[in-house]
Symmetry: none
Subunit: 372 residues, 2 copies
């Protein structure tokens, strides 16, 4: 290949462009000039030098020389579609960080703070607030009372969590109530499972008040359906194997919550949209994670694997409800109004307005509510 020179400015050429052997500079200059229909006027004698160093001194003469060298204006095509951006990998992830995920993480953080502030005040054991807080094994075992209280706490926190999401507050009150009723049990189970991932003992789950409930012990306190065992086997362990992180958790929680097929919903389309937005965020996040981990042999299906936790969750939640129903039947547990309405879907709750009240009360009142 003989390295030719640009017929316009004598710079190194990069091939033929628009009919003339030319450099990238003259190529670009000609295209811009034609596209924008520029009319240049020479300020001198219309005989300026057009060389590598001086080519930008006079546009009129440069364009003139382009034409003389053989460039044709009709070789300039129409504008094309935008092409894929080329950026560094780091930039991409930063750009694609989504508002939705940030929002969900913020909502989760809020509830975590509420929860831990309550635990600190109601529990008598001392806490190290540092990062090494993960040896739950030292904590006390859950009693029957703990189970009831932790479910109640989770429900209160669920309502607060939902209220902090604009996608939720924009809904009609009746739809808000329906969503909460239809998904509360599943979300509680999801929360318990995720919280239990970091336990070092494999036979227990960690309740909302940081008490531990052991698989074998649970059957003695009303867990007829082996809910605890199933949570560990079907949810916690798979989560561990997947090494599920907080972002995936909040996305999954929101997907579970914005369930368009719960009963008596009015604005199904809106809820479906919220669900799909979360789904998209989860998939994007998983795709990014696969690229970073380099485990990507085409498809690693991480998002699919996460979504496949949900059927188990659904089944277990249903059995949890049964457990609670039976426990109430035998007078084992004190079922309050919120629990009755959200978990048991009991229409004839003693205080049918409790949910409405929760939905409209400010966050501040919650902290005192949680303590008893």
């Amino acid at each position: 290949m003989g390295e030719e020179l640009c017929n316009i400015c004598n710079d190194k050429s990069t091939g033929k462009h628009y009919g003339a052997v030319s450099c990238d500079g003259c190529k670009g200059f000609f295209r811009r000039s034609i596209r924008k229909r520029y009319h240049y006027v020479c300020r001198f004698e219309k005989c300026c030098d057009v060389t590598k160093n001086k080519r930008n001194a006079c546009r009129s003469c440069r364009l003139q020389k382009c034409v003389k060298a053989g460039m044709k204006a009709n070789a300039i095509q129409n504008e094309r579609d935008a092409i894929g951006k080329r950026k560094k990998a780091g930039d991409q992830t930063e750009t694609e960080k989504e508002e939705l995920i940030d929002q969900l993480v913020a909502a989760e953080t809020l509830c975590q703070q509420l929860r831990s502030s309550v635990i600190k005040r109601t529990q008598q054991v001392s806490y190290d607030c540092g990062k090494v807080k993960w040896n739950y094994e030292d904590d006390r075992r859950a009693t029957l009372d703990d189970i009831g209280k932790s479910i109640h706490q989770q429900l209160v926190l669920l309502v607060e969590w939902a209220k902090s999401l604009p996608q939720f507050t924009f809904l009609a009150i009746s739809d808000q109530a329906s969503l909460l009723k239809g998904t509360a049990a599943s979300i509680i189970v999801l929360g318990v499972a995720f919280r239990s991932i970091c336990l070092t003992v494999g036979d227990s789950i960690c309740l909302a008040n940081d008490t531990l409930l052991q698989k074998d012990h649970a059957t003695h306190v009303g867990d007829i359906n082996c809910v605890v065992g199933r949570i560990i086997d079907e949810v916690v362990n798979p989560m561990r194997r997947l090494n599920m992180d907080l972002i995936e958790y909040v996305a999954l929680k929101a997907i579970l919550f914005f369930n368009p097929v719960v009963r008596e919903l009015q604005d199904v389309a809106n809820i479906e949209n919220s669900r799909f937005a979360c789904l998209r965020s989860l998939q994007k996040r998983c795709a990014e994670k696969a690229v970073l981990a380099l485990e990507d042999d085409g498809f690693d299906c991480r998002s699919g694997k996460l979504l496949l936790l949900l059927p188990s969750l659904q089944a277990i939640a249903q059995q949890l409800v049964e457990d609670v129903q039976l426990a109430r039947l035998f007078g084992l547990v004190n079922v309050d109004a919120l629990m009755s309405e959200l978990i048991l879907n009991d229409q004839k709750a003693s205080d049918p307005q409790i949910l409405q009240t929760s939905l409209s009360s400010p966050v501040e009142s919650i902290k005192t509510e949680l303590e008893e």
Copy 2:
């Protein structure tokens, strides 16, 4: 040959490509788009002109028009090696995935044939075997007896279906039994729902023996939990909106079946691998479909939407089991041994060997079995 024009952009055509009369430009564009799984987004109103001069202005609309003109993505072959013959590792996995789907479709076809041959022989109504077999409305309504019989049929067919899958037959007999017991109810519901998609009446489902069960009528024949209504609202209608196809159905069925968290499984890893293989196939298939449908702004999450049918399925199946249990309790339905073992998970079934027998009997004996 007549000098035809490109059906996409009106340029001179160079023959048929991928199913549409088109020019070399559109041919190359379509191949590149499908190969690289490009996701284009229209920056305007999704109605851009696609003509010789403007065809490069919007790739989204151009690809859209390629599909509308009849181009088929499955006409795009695998990438060939530049020098010659050798299949790469990537091609191998691709072939494997295709094989899996083909296998699942074959298994489904087998069961469909078994089912329809039985229906023809046991039902007294005449059948047109032609393509227009979809006016189920003319068929008879399901009686209580039909419900029991259709569940039984579905269970027998489920066992046959499973036996036709090598991933299943390679398992230990105990694991085979566990999988069947753990997933039978869900798979029945999935099958009923998919079969009901093509009904033109929106308030009924289509049982395995092609009888119709109406939502309102179901509550009179033991459907205390509104299972029929929930199937329609939570599964059939979403399936319709997604326009779910047979391949997606068989993949979802297999994913549901190879459930690594059913109780008492030994070879969890193997079953998990089977599940993930199906998941990969489903995702790949959905990605291809997304490219064609172009309803897609980056990610359309089709596979995720399909997987989100499963939690509902799980919940409904659980309620179906309750319904059957109650029906048996009130003597409404005749529960045979297979039903007792697979649906009700009744260990003390009258004939505890029925499942073992089914698992080892040849296909031929099934046809007579199904008739009564």
